[in-house]
């Protein structure tokens, strides 16, 4: 009885360590504050996902020279036991990159020295042995979609092309007779396709063509097998095929205009969510 009780206690302790301590420990590696020059103002503070890892980014404007900033950070991280792994001036871009590492924790500092403004970009992330730095690991569609601001962008909607309920307008461009819109919707891609087929028809549009991402992927697969088609890094990237598999392109036409609506599932909102790009030409 006593033995069973001990085992139970040990299991609970282990579970608590697993749930609370391990993620905390992992975060603790980059969860430290990096000091900034006095008088600096925080202009950006957000976490982003890139290359399969979380990156904590803070952007400041600083009232001191870039040389002073760089000198300070070289000295500070050296005293903290960090190893300097990058010290790279890029005079053409008016910036200087520093990178320090301790264990798996990396602090990347960019100092931007443009006329009238000094910016400090501080990024913290984990980089295990053998792992590429984020800029070499690339950005997946999921990560890119997750970085799109979830707030209504300036601009206006089209009267001729509806938008799904609760969607967010992420981009708007109008030039001459052409309008481009980007929406982030909480519905899944299949529901959005159904929505546009139904609503567009109700508004007098005729669906001229529907291109399925699955057809394109199938063609790519056969072309790769039968012919000499090289591997496509975008299609071959992990997770991309699933997104493109469910992608649809709807081409509509009406007396008053042409519209092409591209709908992709948004894996950053999984299990639902979609990204919608609209190209509209007024006749």
């Amino acid at each position: 009885m006593l033995r069973q009780k001990n085992i139970l206690i040990a299991a609970v302790v282990l579970a608590l360590i697993t749930v609370f301590c391990l993620p905390g420990f992992a975060q603790a590696n980059v969860d430290f504050e990096v000091p900034v020059p006095e008088g600096s103002s925080l202009v950006e503070d957000r976490d982003i996902a890139m290359g399969g890892r979380q990156i904590k980014i803070k952007v400041y404007t600083a009232p001191v020279s870039s040389a002073a900033i760089l000198g300070y950070y070289r000295s500070f991280f050296s005293q903290q036991g960090f190893q300097k792994i990058l010290d790279k001036p890029e005079p053409e871009l008016n910036k200087h990159l520093l990178r320090f590492k301790q264990g798996d924790a990396v602090v990347a500092i960019g100092v931007l020295n443009k006329p009238g403004i000094n910016k400090i970009v501080i990024a913290r992330y984990l980089q295990k042995a053998g792992q590429l730095p984020p800029e070499k690991s690339g950005v997946s569609l999921t990560e890119l979609f997750s970085m799109v601001p979830k707030k209504e962008a300036a601009g206006k909607d089209l009267a001729a092309v509806p938008r799904p309920d609760n969607s967010i307008r992420a981009a708007f461009t109008e030039r001459g007779d052409h309008t481009q819109l980007l929406y982030i919707a909480p519905m899944n891609a299949v529901s959005v396709v159904d929505f546009y087929k139904k609503e567009m028809e109700a508004q007098g549009w005729e669906l001229k063509r529907e291109v399925l991402g699955s057809e394109g992927l199938g063609a790519y697969g056969i072309a790769k097998e039968d012919a000499f088609t090289p591997e496509n890094p975008i299609l071959e990237r992990p997770g991309h095929k699933q997104v493109i598999q469910e992608m649809s392109i709807l081409e509509f036409s009406a007396d008053f205009g042409d519209a092409e609506i591209t709908i992709l599932p948004d894996p950053s909102q999984a299990p639902a969510g979609s990204v919608i790009k609209i190209e509209y030409d007024e006749k």
Binding site: I57, E135, K136, V148, A227, P233, T262, K277
Partner: protein, 442 residues
């Protein structure tokens, strides 16, 4: 006592007769040989015409396909160039728009790029299928023209056979038919149809057409054994034939494929024609990008914009990576060939040195007319036709007629959505015009 006149005894008339007989026999033999040779010669002319027609028709079909591939290749490239220009513009318009503008710009550029790529892959897949079908279709056309020009002299059913087969009027019953009905029957026999009698139309067709008409009309030359062209890539060598009797007997009915190719059944008839065709199985189409340097220029424009934009310091490097991923052809480790065109590689072995071979054989059974046995035997002709570039520069890859770099710069600077038609007009479509010829015949 028999008295013989001295005059009669010296009678010399008729001595030439035996020689005349001999000469007549020789002349008769010569005429018969000439007629025989003439008949055999006619068979040779027929097979020769048929082989030439088949080979030329096949080459013409191939030439049409090559033009189609070239135009599709132009379209695909125009589509991909305009897509990428638009992707660049998508990015440029948004990248300077606050700290997240570059993300929105990249999302738009990436979606534009992926959608364009997917559409092009589908077009490429269709082209690949056509590349497989091209030679099969050329073989089918070769069969059609070869058979049509093979001089098949099959007689159609007689009027009596027609009356019996369609209306059941046989023997003396014909005398009971009224003149008006007889005129109507003969009219139906002449035109091969009776629009007012739908129930008999198929029977009328059967008894007014030759089996060969039916064979051609229903493209039976394109069915044999277990091979069907719609089931996949056509084999390199195919043979088809048709046989018939001189008296028009054994007419093939709708349900009777007696003269179709299985087991060479056509060779059981008094006459037959056989066409054999050999050629490639497909055009191997490859996808490639001839405009790497131009997309490289587009990529540079994006990177320039990133430098000028108010971005997050080192994150520029990540943007650079993504740009390379989307637009990079030769950049870094993210090499990617755009599906911008079709390449038939190599072009010369696929056209100039790759003809369609056509053999046509005609057989006519020996005819023994008592005095003479006409020996026709089998006559064979061969021809090869090809689609080729007369100038030597013809190809299915796109050829630009102007400076595309100016076009790209102009569109990017304008910020307007580029039109595929404007880009398409910049290609020299005469590059895809292939000639056809009979390159050898015997």
């Amino acid at each position: 006592m028999i008295k013989i006149s001295r005059n009669k005894a010296r009678y010399e008339k008729g001595q030439i007769f035996p020689f005349l007989i001999a000469v007549l026999v020789v002349i008769l033999i010569a005429i018969m040989i000439t007629v025989n040779l003439g008949q055999v010669g006619m068979l040779k002319v027929d097979t020769s015409n048929a082989a030439d027609a088949g080979a030329l028709a096949a080459a013409s079909t191939l030439s049409g396909y090559l033009l189609g591939f070239g135009l599709k290749s132009d379209f695909m490239e125009a589509h991909m160039i305009t897509t990428e220009i638009w992707a660049v513009i998508n990015f440029l318009v948004h990248c300077g728009d606050g700290p997240y503008g570059w993300i929105v710009g990249l999302v738009l550029a990436l979606i534009t790029h992926i959608a364009g790529m997917i559409k092009n892959f589908i077009e490429y897949f269709i082209a690949l299928t056509e590349g497989k079908m091209a030679w099969g279709q050329a073989k089918k056309t070769a069969f059609q023209y070869a058979f049509q020009n093979a001089g098949v002299d099959e007689v159609r059913p007689t009027f009596r056979q027609f009356l019996e087969g369609v209306y059941g009027i046989s023997g003396d019953e014909i005398n009971d038919v009224s003149p008006a009905d007889m005129a109507h029957y003969y009219n139906v026999y002449s035109i091969g149809d009776d629009p007012n009698n739908a129930g008999l139309r198929s029977l009328i067709k059967q008894y007014t057409q030759t089996g060969f008409n039916k064979y051609m009309e229903e493209a039976r030359y394109w069915r044999w054994g277990k091979i069907a062209p719609w089931e996949g890539t056509f084999p390199p060598r195919v043979t088809s034939g048709y046989g018939w009797n001189d008296d028009g007997t054994n007419v093939c009915t709708g349900s009777n494929d007696c003269r179709v190719n299985e087991g060479e059944a056509y060779k059981n008839y008094e006459n037959w024609v056989e066409v054999e065709i050999m050629g490639n199985i497909m055009y191997p189409l490859d996808i490639y990008s001839p405009l790497a340097e131009l997309f490289e220029a587009a990529r540079d424009r994006i990177l320039d914009a990133i430098e000028d934009a108010d971005m997050w310091g080192w994150v520029e490097d990540i943007a650079d990576f993504v740009v390379n991923l989307i637009f990079g052809i030769t950049a870094g480790s993210t090499q990617f060939t755009f599906p911008a065109g079709l390449e038939m590689s190599p072009i010369v072995p696929n056209t100039r040195q790759n003809p369609m071979h056509v053999w046509v054989r005609r057989y006519k059974k020996n005819k023994d007319i008592g005095l003479w046995n006409f020996d026709y035997g089998t006559s064979e002709s061969y021809a090869q036709g090809r689609a080729f570039g007369e100038r030597g520069t013809e190809d299915i890859t796109p050829a630009l007629s102007g400076q595309i770099s100016g076009f790209i710069t102009q569109w990017i600077d304008s910020g307007d959505k580029p039109e595929v038609d404007d880009m398409y007009d910049m290609f020299d479509t005469s590059q895809h015009l292939f000639e056809t010829e009979i390159s050898y015949a015997r």
